[in-house]
Amino acid sequence: MMTKGRYGIHGGQYIPETLMHAVIELEKAYEYYKNDPQFNKELQELFHEYANRPSLLYYAEKMTKDLGGAKIYLKREDLNHTGSHKINNVLGQVLLAKKMGKKRVLAETGAGQHGVATATAAALMDMECTVYMGREDTERQALNVFRMELLGAKVVAVESGTKTLKDAVNEALRQWTANVNDTYYVLGSVMGPHPYPEMVRDFQSVIGKEVKAQILEKEGRLPDIVMACVGGGSNAMGLFYDFIPDKEVQLIGVEAAGRGVNTAQTAATIARGSLGIFHGMKSYFLQDEYGQIAPVYSISAGLDYPGIGPEHAALYDSGRAQYVSATDDEAVAAFSYLSRTEGIIPAIESAHAIAYAQKLAPTLPKDKIIVVNVSGRGDKDVAAIARYMGVDLHE
């Protein structure tokens, strides 16, 4: 039998039978609405009138001069409503949920960006919303918890396992299983069972489409490199997707190395993981020899995930994309660097991509062009970064 949603050997639909009906229903609904002119018109309106799209493609002139190599452009997903790329996917999915007649949505969140975006879309489209967030993340990202509650969502702190993103996904899946008849699960990344990886990628692909048009307008040619941070991988997949057929454009994903890829405190799945089947998909995971999922670590709650989306795993296998990593220290340094150099405070997730751009740009000639996705803004991280730097804020 041909199994659905495969990317090379990766992907699939590894979920409990109780959820199969819902996933098949979703698959059918998505197949219909993705080609429905009315759905697409409404989504475009939400993108343009509500979410502030298109986001800017900004020439980082000071950064370029300072690094002395390739020309650097920043895709400003941080300027979107709710402050990150997460809104692109969420507007698509919550609009779809509404068309499907669902009354409730639930979501997992790591850093809180996806949770805030889901709570926002749910408020806008009159849906009841519950967000599952690991206890540790609710502490690291207390401001986002309050933000979600302000938007009318219920935030549930997940106490199981490592109390981070993976456990939030586990709990969201459990709750979806219990309430599957009236509830829509808004998955936040290009992961999980088919059709999520495809659907989330499609909604996020607006990033790469815009970059392509904007860079052609500004430079009259395609970039040499496009780069983004990767946890589950939605902002990277959204940036990469339209460039996959353009073989001359190099695709680089930057994973979170945490305290180092050779330490146990890492979230660098491609660098350190192995093939497995978890959270609905076959892909690469950080795990032990018996298939127990490893506790992962990164300063960034949004990259703190032991797996990677199946399409990334396939892009890695085929060599079409490269995956590198940046440590906590490098990301924090990049967080400060971009703030001081360009006056842009990036999300600590996005700072991983900035960190690698800082390394790569000086090694390239000045006529090369790099586009780095600033997937979110860093306001949510300011308190945590202050703590990391040993600054006492007296909050």
Partner: protein
Amino acid sequence: MSKIAAAFKKQRKCFIPFITAGDPNLDVTEQLIVAMANAGADIVELGIPFSDPVAEGEVIQAANIRALSAGTTTDKIFAMLKNVRTKTDVPLVFLTYINPIFTYGTEKFLANCQSVGLDGIIVPDVPYEEKAPLSELCRKYGVDLIPLVAPTSDERIKMIAKDAEGYVYIVSSLGVTGVRSDITTDIAAMTEKIRQATNVPAAVGFGIATPKQAEEMAAVSDGAIVGSAVVKIVGKYGTDCVQPVSDYVKEMAEAVHKVQ
């Protein structure tokens, strides 16, 4: 005939308790399997602990953590089962997630199942659509692949049941494992759909805790599967759990066996 089929032949209605292997340690698991078989369990389901058991409620999640903290591994479980097989021939079924099987090596896993006399496997995160590679190897090594059907399965029930081996696991309610005061699903209707597609028996699990519930479920199917209620006793008594679990299994098995 497989040992599982023989068990349903011998005892028209089967009582099937579940425990997590290695909770609180593998010595106790070994004693529990033997004691439950002696107390009237017709088949025993054995969980291989997993770090992220997404189909489990809090009780079995906690058992998974206890087992993993005690250093339980798949290899140690196979070694324990070798000892078990010198003491009882009760049919044994593994319940675990696909990642521990896949990462261990599906073929090596099933070859080991065959060599220790393990009779069937239940893998809750492998639905019908993804089962082909697993079911091929299950057939090769004579291990029954036991499928689940859920209250949402509806028109999928016949398709799933047609390929069933061992028994069909009827998930009684939406949600995760755990004790429930009421089971509202029309189990009789699900059993009927299964019987239209296969002669393989069907047993009901999820939410059953009392002899009365077990009796009711066995009356509308071929057996009752009880996990969380057993695991709760293990959690409460720790290394002293063998006697209280045995008492509970005896009471439950009697309730199921008296159903006509």
